[in-house]
Amino acid sequence: MDWFKIGSAILIGAMIIFLLPRARQMVKHSPKAKQGDWQALLIPIGLVVLFVIFLIMSVR
């Protein structure tokens, strides 16, 4: 195994250690979604998916 892989693993491991308490806190304190919130999220995210598919088709 080369040093690049070891370095990448250390960096990602450090990110996980740094993010873990923040993620735990966010899960506890995030407000619940209200009516219509999920629909408001899925429309733009669906458009992003379609746009990325379009970009992939354009470079093939």
Binding site: M1, F4, I12, I16, R22, M26, P44, V52, V59
Partner: protein, 223 residues
């Protein structure tokens, strides 16, 4: 009507403050993106090795974790933002050089760059015009980020190409969600520090660009 005056002026002040944070964030973001592009060009010109990516990203994250929280409320924070975005831009040098060696490399880079711009402007514009509160996404986005990091950690050792593509697709969707979340935090007063807001939006753009480029490079059919 005089009875309502304090509430009205407080609300007006709040809108003005939000608009100021938004204006400062987008101004600083555009400057850091230009600086980042300049640093990427410098990195390509001096032909940095693949280790540059790791060292620059590691340095940038050390600044984000250790220095930025202490300087974000002072003018020194602006220098730290430029250092972070400069390092992240510099880290792109070896990756872009690799892509430019492909016959359609320039087209892939420009498509990824334009695609990232459209995704960012579209999602930011959507959050700004609807003024919807996306704070409910916070927990889910951070858990999603952890899942992706665990998958990326596993893929360093297993090196499965399909997993790499799945991770890139998931990162694009996740950071699209982060753009909505970060922009709505500025609009709804959850983020009042434009330095922190700039770094958050910059990281969204940076991650979408890198992973869109990876996805386009892998699926373009050019070896």
């Amino acid at each position: 009507m005089a009875f309502n005056q304090p509430a009205v002026s407080r609300s007006a002040e709040s809108v003005l403050a939000t608009n100021k944070v938004l204006r400062n964030t987008y101004s600083l973001l555009s400057m850091t993106l230009l600086f980042s592009a300049l640093m990427a060009a410098v990195s390509m010109y001096v032909e940095t090795g693949p280790g540059t990516y790791l060292l620059s990203v590691g340095g940038a994250f050390l600044l984000i974790w250790l220095v930025l929280p202490r300087t974000a409320n002072s003018s020194a924070g602006i220098g730290v933002v430029f250092a972070i975005t400069g390092l992240l831009g510099f880290s792109l040098g070896p990756i872009l050089t690799q892509y430019l060696a492909l016959s359609n490399g320039a087209q892939l880079i420009m498509t990824a760059l334009g695609g990232t711009g459209v995704i960012f402007l579209g999602l930011s514009g959507y959050a700004l015009t609807t003024r919807r509160d996306f704070s409910f996404l916070g927990g889910m986005l951070f858990v999603g980020l952890l899942v992706i990091l665990f998958a990326a950690l596993g893929n360093i050792f297993f090196a499965i190409p399909a997993l790499s593509l799945a991770i890139s697709a998931a990162v694009i969707l996740l950071f699209s969600g982060f753009i909505l979340y970060d922009t709505s935090r500025i609009i709804n007063g959850g983020e009042t520090n434009y330095i922190m807001a700039t770094v958050a939006l910059y990281l969204d753009i940076f991650n979408i660009f890198i992973h869109l480029l990876n996805l386009l490079g892998a699926l373009s059919g050019d070896d």
